[in-house]
């Protein structure tokens, strides 16, 4: 067999359902289906109903329409505007030959390396809501001993303290007193961000770590904590009965709900009323969130950024004032390097990727604020008074 045939053969046929075997055991032949003329009649009836439904759908509706975005603005105007924004952006980059955390102004000016550690790869920064601290991942050790741990440091890079071993994908509580994070699924190192099991919270005052009551939580990534502390929102990949999606999970219960948003890597707006996420590989989606109903709902879905193949859009993050989002923007990777992994994974090289900022109120108005393409990604806004 050729390599190609081998790769096809690695795919296993989906399992025949047990219910089908039980039907066989009952010894009854399958019900004969409707003859085709009846099916045709049903198709015609369905088409008529569809036309009627479309008629009513297309009539003016009292339901809220998707937010009207302003007309597309220019990148130059946006960059001028960003020069006046006081908040900063922290990101991961390997521009100095290894992975460090860099802080830049909103327009990309004044880059400062916060970590400068040639032997440690710092990744996935998450800034506390008051802008005073940064929680981040650090890949430490080599080969078999390599492990991804969690640290907190001051936002100027001082006073680094480890808070958890073999953990990743942190986020802050809105009052900045706790960090929630995901444990690594395996003892051995994995770049796959969804190789996780369980949600945990770290209390900064006491140093205590507590596990979420739902012990079945697995394969989450991009964890968020709602401002009222009652919900987590995260992507799931192949876990808890879900194939792939964005979930809302009760912070103190077992409730797990699919928000039915196609895509991944969500970020909650500072007021918790909106969600932004990677709406596929080439768009940033925004939707309104309603956590007051069970199940929680995401409505008014629309794209604020739409890119074109091969330029991908990932890692969206709301600015503290909710006016902008930062995101990673770069070419889809082709070929066999990158260790067989994907550039959107933390700590995986992303040639040509830059931190980019979009105006949330305007359609497709964005500008790259880094330009060296040295894997500048996972941006997180830093609040500045």
């Amino acid at each position: 067999m050729t390599d190609f045939e081998d790769k096809l053969a690695e795919l296993r046929p989906a399992r025949a359902p047990e219910a089908l075997w039980r039907r066989v055991q009952e010894g009854k032949l399958a019900d004969r289906r409707w003859p085709s003329f009846r099916r045709d009649a049903v198709s015609i009836a369905a088409a008529v109903l569809l036309v009627i439904a479309l008629y009513f759908i297309l009539l003016p509706s009292p339901d809220p329409a998707p937010a009207a975005l302003g007309p597309q603005g220019s990148s130059e105007e946006l960059l001028k505007e960003l020069k006046l924004v006081r908040h900063k952006i922290v990101m991961e980059s390997n521009r100095d030959g290894n992975w460090d955390l860099w802080v830049i102004n909103a327009d990309g000016s004044n880059p400062v390396n916060l970590t400068k550690t040639p032997d440690v790869d710092e990744l996935y920064p998450k800034v506390s809501p008051d802008g005073s601290k940064i929680c981040f991942c650090a890949d430490e050790g080599k080969g078999e001993a390599k492990v991804r741990n969690l640290y907190i440091m001051n936002s100027d890079g001082s006073k680094r303290v480890k808070i958890a071993d073999n953990s990743r994908e942190p986020c802050w509580s809105s009052d900045g007193t706790k960090v929630a994070f995901l444990r690594g699924e395996f003892d051995t190192f994995s770049y796959s961000d969804f190789a996780t099991r369980g949600i945990f919270t770290y209390d900064l005052a006491s140093g205590q770590i507590r596990q979420h009551p739902n012990k079945k939580i697995e394969h989450l990534y991009t964890l968020n904590w709602s401002p009222d502390g009652k919900w987590f929102v995260a992507t799931v990949h192949g876990g808890m009965g879900f194939k792939h999606g964005i979930l809302a999970l009760e912070a103190e219960g077992d409730g797990v709900f699919d928000l039915n948003l196609g895509g991944c890597r969500p970020d909650l707006s500072p007021d918790g009323k909106q969600i932004a996420w990677g709406h596929g590989d080439y768009a940033i989606g925004v939707a309104d969130l309603d956590f007051t109903s069970i199940p929680p709902k995401a409505t008014n879905v629309h794209n604020i950024v739409e890119s074109k193949d091969p330029m991908e859009t990932y890692h969206v993050d709301w600015s503290p004032d909710g006016r902008y989002v930062a995101f990673s923007y770069g070419p889809k990777h082709q070929g066999k390097n990158l260790k067989g992994l994907l550039p959107e994974f933390p700590g995986v090289e992303a040639p040509g990727w830059n931190t980019t900022v979009a105006d949330v109120s305007k359609k497709n108005t964005f500008v790259q604020v880094t330009n060296d393409g040295k894997s500048c990604k996972e941006p997180d806004w830093m609040f500045v008074k």
């Binding site: 190609f4 053969a9 025949a16 399958a30 085709s36 994907l342």
Partner: protein, 171 residues
């Protein structure tokens, strides 16, 4: 009599456990209708339980031929709907990295597989997932080895053209 029925039931279950997954994949790709494919599998196995064959030359060959004949009967009687056929492949593996890679690869292969001609699709499915040799697969498809080989390599080339080397998996 009761003893015979019990033995037949056990034999039938063994056949089911050994072959049902790939038979269902085969029937689904022949019919492009997962629900109809399940019906085909049900009918074939119910008939085997009611009247077990006396001897198999090759149990896989026998079952694939039986599924093929039943599927062709369904096509002739136009008892098909246009239901989704997904997923053709198992998507969960033991670790998430493999799961992600296989899931993406499965989706890509499924998409392209369902677009190539029915004859080429059948040849690829029988050879790759039916795990038959060319002569065995040709016998199931009811064509000469040369014809089968031609269909198989043409189908494989069409898949390779659309899928590339199957190395990159987007998440």
């Amino acid at each position: 009599m009761e003893q015979t029925l019990l033995m037949d039931s056990l034999l039938c279950e063994q056949l089911w456990r050994r072959h049902a997954d790939r038979l269902l994949l085969y029937a689904t790709t022949v019919l492009s209708d997962r629900a109809a494919a399940e019906d085909v599998l049900q009918n074939v196995f119910v008939r085997i339980m009611a009247s077990p064959p006396e001897a198999f030359d090759s149990e896989a060959g026998y079952l694939f031929r039986a599924v093929r004949n039943e599927a062709l009967n369904v096509i002739r009687s136009r008892r098909l709907s246009s239901r989704a056929v997904s997923p053709l492949f198992e998507e969960l593996a033991e670790d998430p990295r493999t799961t992600a890679e296989l899931a993406e690869r499965g989706r890509q292969v499924e998409k392209v597989l369902l677009r190539i001609s029915a004859e080429e699709r059948e040849a690829v499915v029988l050879k790759i997932w039916g795990d038959f040799s060319i002569p065995e697969a040709a016998a199931v498809a009811g064509v000469s080895e040369k014809t089968f080989e031609h269909r198989y390599y043409r189908g494989l080339a069409a898949l390779r053209e659309k899928l590339g080397d199957l190395d990159h998996d987007g998440l």
